[in-house]
């Protein structure tokens, strides 16, 4: 009881102190008047109301700032009314890894062996009690049966918790709890309201009222204040807020490296250094997250990401590491350009560089691929340069014809160092391109994602960044799907939508392997990405199989840089690794 009493006090001034409000009424009302308890309750509520008004005013004022806007509105005491007719009957919502068709698995925590039916609510088969609160109610501190002197507290995480569909899971039947008062529902005409239960019995409708302390209510505040500006709509969450902060920062500051990194990190839900300069103090792993503590901020990220520094070293060797604003504290994002990391392509690019056909002078049908290792450059019997490039045969011929045009052949030979006296050279084709043409106007963003859902989420949101990037700079993007093994079964001939919309696009939005050359006007991918499937297994001309309906996809990320692609498989190369998708 003492604990709850403290909850109703707050550090505000005399004007909202309930005891002062009460005593301010005068001695007649506080000592003589027979209804003085009623007055005491009234003044207590009024002081609570003043506090609630203050909270709401602060929420309103904070909503003007993307940095301070509350994710949810706070209601100090939120009344949650639970009707018996709706108690323990929650809507059936199919989420990934949630309900399955037919009988629910025996190891399901709440619904083992239950059979769900469309259009009917579901009831747990174990000793828990579910209630679907109003959509607006998102979180709470504790539930109490009364505001004043409560005799029953329901603690979040112990007595009550959330399930993945937003339902409250109680560990006891509230309608059987003698400490929680029940009220019969009476219609306006004075007759009792009844309902029919699943067994067909007519039951008197009742409700219980419990009070949520510090109820968190979703007023869609983040979207209305900032999300609609960027036309990005997501459920209210800290992640959504961070994402919008990143976009806002990118918009206001312009495309600085730090702002780009922050925006990308907002999409990936991983942190980047916020202060201009921070020094590592500590780092550890707990609760499914890795934590990084600097002298100015603390950061946490999914434990499946690695630290951006070498955590195999002694901790004392890493402590004191200097971070600059925009740098990631995990390995989810890598940004490279020639100013930051001269020659970055030698270490970060992976074994191939795929360039869109639109990056070339002349008519090309598909992308060209350049290997990022020493290859043989030579002059043929006619003295023409043979540039080691992979791709469609006609495109390779077009490329070599261009560089061997008499107007420029000598210039290219001189640049490469080829001559009749030195007709063969070992050079890195990617290095040749970067040193000769690309390095000053090309930036590289490498992303690691840890599951396919996040992959799709990232690709869907990355388009929001595009309008803020300089258009005269070429952005090479590499996405590594870092999932060890995922299996999606019983897909009923439907493709995993995120990948269908993304993996198959080239930088020019054509869909290699499915409908080559078919352009996609207005595609969000036409502007920014070079997402490509690159040559596998020495068959660069036609390495891909695609467009097959599938019932089962196995996404298997390997560390191999070469893999054999069989019929019924698609191969994706992400930062040197090969991902095989099996179609069956």
């Amino acid at each position: 009881m003492d604990e709850i009493s403290q909850l109703t006090t707050y550090p505000t001034g005399d004007k909202s102190d309930p005891s002062i409000l009460y005593t301010g009424l005068g001695t007649f009302w506080t000592n003589v008047f027979q209804g003085k308890e009623m007055l005491s309750g009234l003044t207590l509520e009024q002081s609570e109301n003043l506090l609630q008004l203050y909270i709401e005013l602060v929420d309103v004022l904070n909503s003007y700032s993307v940095h301070n806007i509350p994710v949810f509105d706070t209601n100090k005491w939120y009344p949650l009314v639970i009707y018996k007719s709706q108690y323990n009957r929650v809507p059936l919502i199919y989420n990934p890894d949630d309900a399955v068709y037919g009988v629910q698995p025996a190891d399901d925590p709440f619904f083992q062996n239950a059979v769900f039916r469309y259009g009917f609510p579901k009831s747990p088969t174990t000793s828990v009690y579910l209630h679907q609160p109003p959509e607006v109610f998102k979180d709470f501190g504790i539930f109490a049966n009364r505001v004043i002197d409560p005799t029953r507290l329901l603690v979040k995480g112990t007595d009550v918790s959330w399930d993945r569909n937003g339902a409250l899971v109680f560990n006891q039947d509230l309608f059987e709890d003698p400490e929680i008062s029940k009220t019969s529902v009476i219609a306006e005409n004075g007759t009792p309201v009844t309902y029919t239960d699943e067994a067909g019995n007519e039951i008197q409708e009742e409700f219980v009222l419990i009070w949520a302390y510090n109820g968190q209510l979703d007023a869609d505040r983040i979207f209305e204040a900032f999300g609609q500006i960027f036309e990005v709509r997501k459920e209210s969450s800290q992640f959504y807020k961070d994402l919008l902060r990143g976009l806002m920062n990118l918009s206001v500051e312009g495309p600085t490296v730090a702002a780009i990194s922050q925006a990308v990190s907002g999409i990936l839900n991983v942190p980047v250094i916020r202060a201009p300069e921070e020094y590592l103090q500590d780092y550890f792993q707990a609760g499914g997250y890795k934590h990084v503590i600097t002298d100015k901020n603390t950061y946490k990220f999914d434990q499946r990401y690695a630290y951006s520094f070498d955590d195999t070293l002694m901790k004392s060797q890493n402590v004191g590491t200097r971070f600059l604003a925009g740098e990631a504290v995990c390995n989810a994002i890598i940004y490279r350009d020639n100013v930051k990391s001269p020659g970055w392509w030698k270490n970060d690019l992976g074994p191939f560089l795929a360039l869109s056909m639109t990056a070339f002078a002349g008519e090309y049908e598909e992308q060209l691929y350049f290997e990022n290792e020493l290859k043989l450059f030579s002059l043929d019997g006619s003295g023409n340069i043979v540039f080691p490039v992979l791709g469609k045969e006609e495109d390779v011929a077009t490329f070599n014809a261009y560089i061997n045009d008499p107007s420029r052949q000598d210039q290219v030979k001189e640049y490469l160092g080829l001559s009749s006296s030195s007709p063969v050279l070992n050079l890195n084709p990617v290095d040749v391109l970067f040193e000769g043409v690309l390095k000053y106007n090309t930036a590289f963003i490498a992303i690691q994602v840890i599951d396919t859902g996040e992959f799709g989420e990232f690709l869907g949101l990355f388009d929001e960044i595009s309008p803020y990037l300089p258009r005269h700079v070429y952005f090479l993007t590499s996405i590594t799907l870092n999932a060890d093994f995922e299996e999606f079964a019983n897909l009923n001939d439907t493709y995993w939508a995120d990948e269908a919309e993304t993996d198959r696009r080239n930088a020019d939005a054509s869909k290699t392997g499915i409908s080559e050359g078919e352009a996609v006007p207005g595609s969000e991918w036409s502007d920014l990405f070079l997402i490509t499937r690159s040559p596998i297994d020495g068959s660069p001309a036609d390495p891909f199989v695609g467009g097959l309906p599938l019932d089962n996809v196995t996404c298997n990320s390997t560390t191999d840089t070469q893999a054999e692609v069989n019929a019924g498989q698609e191969a994706y190369r992400t930062s040197g690794k090969v991902v095989l998708l099996d179609f069956s």
Partner: protein, 532 residues
């Protein structure tokens, strides 16, 4: 925020918590005199906070079914350095022709009505026309045998883009002028703009808060639109776009990048400009040069007329050859291909045309010169915007940004048959609404017939008889054959990066009247509506 009912519940909870015996049942004295009253007062206090809530105000404006213009949104917009755009009236010149050379006075406030569209245009000053105008009058000249004409300025009665008249559009004065032969628009009118609504203003928050520079598409839009007021919309194509090939001509044939093309829509509608040029006669035709500064990046030649005759219609243009012009410029963009020049401020043209008499004989002798009035359609400001990308105080280091007028897709809506509720339905406002919808589309948008039908149902219309026909005409900048789009459902800009025609470069325009092959626009309306 809590509702009055929730506050009442809370009051009851607190009172019953400390005074369990108090009767709080509905109708009791405490409930009626204390609880309800107090709940009402507290709810009122919370309502006082509501107007401060920017979130609520924006939500309300966005949810509104009607166009609103509220002060709260103005104040919120100021946080984003964004201010409501006030409307602009269309303006232009009209030509009145009379059957004699008697001096004429056109009083201030004279109203000219376009009968088909029912639009009014008004003189904002008094004009006195005579054959000897002096310094204060305007010229009354013989435009054809027995017909004397004068040209003066008018502006639209109201703000809005629907008032943009096309050249040669017929007008009728609402006051009597003796001896009047015809009254027509002289050149296209400027495009007006309606007062900005809350929804439109909120839509600009994004660019309002954006960095205003030339480094990204968003900041370019913010600078050119919100800061300089030079454009309606901008599309930037660059390193990762198929349309950008200006930097591909390196020794290795791989783009060096570092370049971008900025396509601008500076006004909602296409405008015209008239200027005088000297042409010379050689062989069998006249030839004149249109310099890069005459009408930078112009779309097409609408008409050529003898400067001293002011006849209607146009002389016959036989060829227009476009070429780059960079002489005397101390800095300019790289322009490797002809299609890079077209619609840019570097565009100049050599025009060949003929001037024949009534017998079809060419008027002109070898080496003769003559003054001609040329009217072209264009997007104003291409040169000004290009300068912003070139001067050291604003340009991005090492970046080559070429500014071009948006490639136009001229739209006409045909076979739109409606059944009005009342038989005397006036289609004027409906045409303007459709016109505004088309000219309000931005880069990347698709023109949907369903949206036009939606617009129809904002009026007193029972039903729309389908199908209607949408027609679009695109002139690729490389001089290739025009691309015609026809559909009953929607028009989408085709993806032809080889022709530089893509949704990133091309956008929809509608003029009130469809120009014919000679650029004369007095004929067919671009939005034709029939009542059934």
């Amino acid at each position: 925020m809590a509702t009055a009912e929730e506050i009442k519940l809370e009051l009851e909870e607190f009172i019953s918590g400390l005074a369990p015996d108090v009767d709080l049942a509905p109708g009791s004295a405490v409930s009626e005199l204390v609880v309800k009253l107090s709940a009402s007062v507290q709810a009122q206090m919370r309502d006082e906070i509501a107007p401060l809530d920017a979130v609520g105000s924006v939500q309300e404006a966005l949810d509104s079914e009607e166009d609103t213009q509220t002060e709260t949104i103005d104040q919120i917009a100021s946080n984003y350095n964004t201010y409501r755009g006030v409307g602009v009236k269309s303006a232009g010149k009209i030509r009145m022709s009379f059957d004699s050379d008697a001096p004429r006075t056109i009083p201030e406030g004279t109203i000219f009505n376009q009968p088909t569209l029912n639009l009014n245009f008004i003189t904002t000053e008094r004009f006195v026309a005579s054959t000897t105008p002096g310094e204060t009058g305007i010229l009354l000249f013989e435009s054809s045998p027995g017909v004397w004409s004068t040209i003066f300025s008018v502006e639209a009665e109201l703000v809005g883009s629907g008032y943009q008249l096309a050249d040669q559009t017929v007008l009728v004065p609402t006051t009597l002028f003796s001896g009047l032969v015809t009254t027509t628009a002289y050149g296209n009118f400027t495009s007006g703009v309606a007062d900005e609504t809350d929804k439109e203003l909120i839509g600009r928050f994004r660019t309002g808060l954006s960095n205003k520079g030339l480094l990204s598409p968003q900041s370019i839009l913010a600078k050119l639109r919100d800061e300089e007021g030079l454009v309606v919309d901008v599309s930037v194509v660059g390193a990762n776009d198929a349309e950008s090939k200006r930097a591909n001509n390196t020794a290795l044939g791989i783009s060096s990048f570092g370049v971008a093309d900025v396509y601008v829509r500076s006004t909602n509608g296409i405008e015209t400009k008239t200027f005088t040029k000297t042409a010379s006669f050689s062989g069998t035709s006249w030839t004149m040069s249109i310099d890069r500064d005459d009408a930078p990046g112009f779309y097409r030649i609408a008409s050529i007329q003898r400067a001293d005759q002011n006849t209607s219609g146009s002389l016959v243009v036989s060829s227009v050859v476009y070429s780059p012009s960079v002489s005397d410029l101390d800095r300019y963009n790289i322009l490797p291909a002809p299609q890079d020049v077209r619609y840019s401020r570097y565009q100049s043209a050599v025009v060949e045309f003929s001037d024949t008499n009534s017998d079809g004989e060419e008027i002109g002798t070898e080496g003769a010169t003559g003054e001609f009035e040329v009217t072209v359609s264009y997007q104003p400001g291409v040169d000004t915007i290009q300068d912003i990308f070139m001067i050291d105080t604003s340009r991005v280091a090492c970046a080559d940004y070429l500014v071009k007028a948006a490639i136009p897709c001229l739209v006409s809506v045909e076979n739109l048959a409606i059944r009005p509720v009342f038989p005397d339905f006036d289609t004027t406002e409906l045409k303007q609404a459709i016109f505004n919808y088309i000219n309000g589309l931005t880069f990347g948008d698709t023109l949907y017939a369903s949206n036009i039908i939606d617009i129809c149902h904002n009026f007193d219309i029972k039903y729309v008889d389908l199908p209607l026909t949408l027609r679009g005409l695109i002139s690729p900048p490389g001089g290739e054959e025009t691309i015609e789009l026809v559909s009953s459902d929607s028009l989408a800009i085709p993806n032809r990066p080889d022709l530089l025609v893509t949704p990133n470069t091309t956008t929809f325009f509608s003029e009130l009247f469809v120009p014919d092959s000679e650029g004369v626009t007095a004929g067919n309306e671009s939005i034709s509506i029939s009542l059934i």
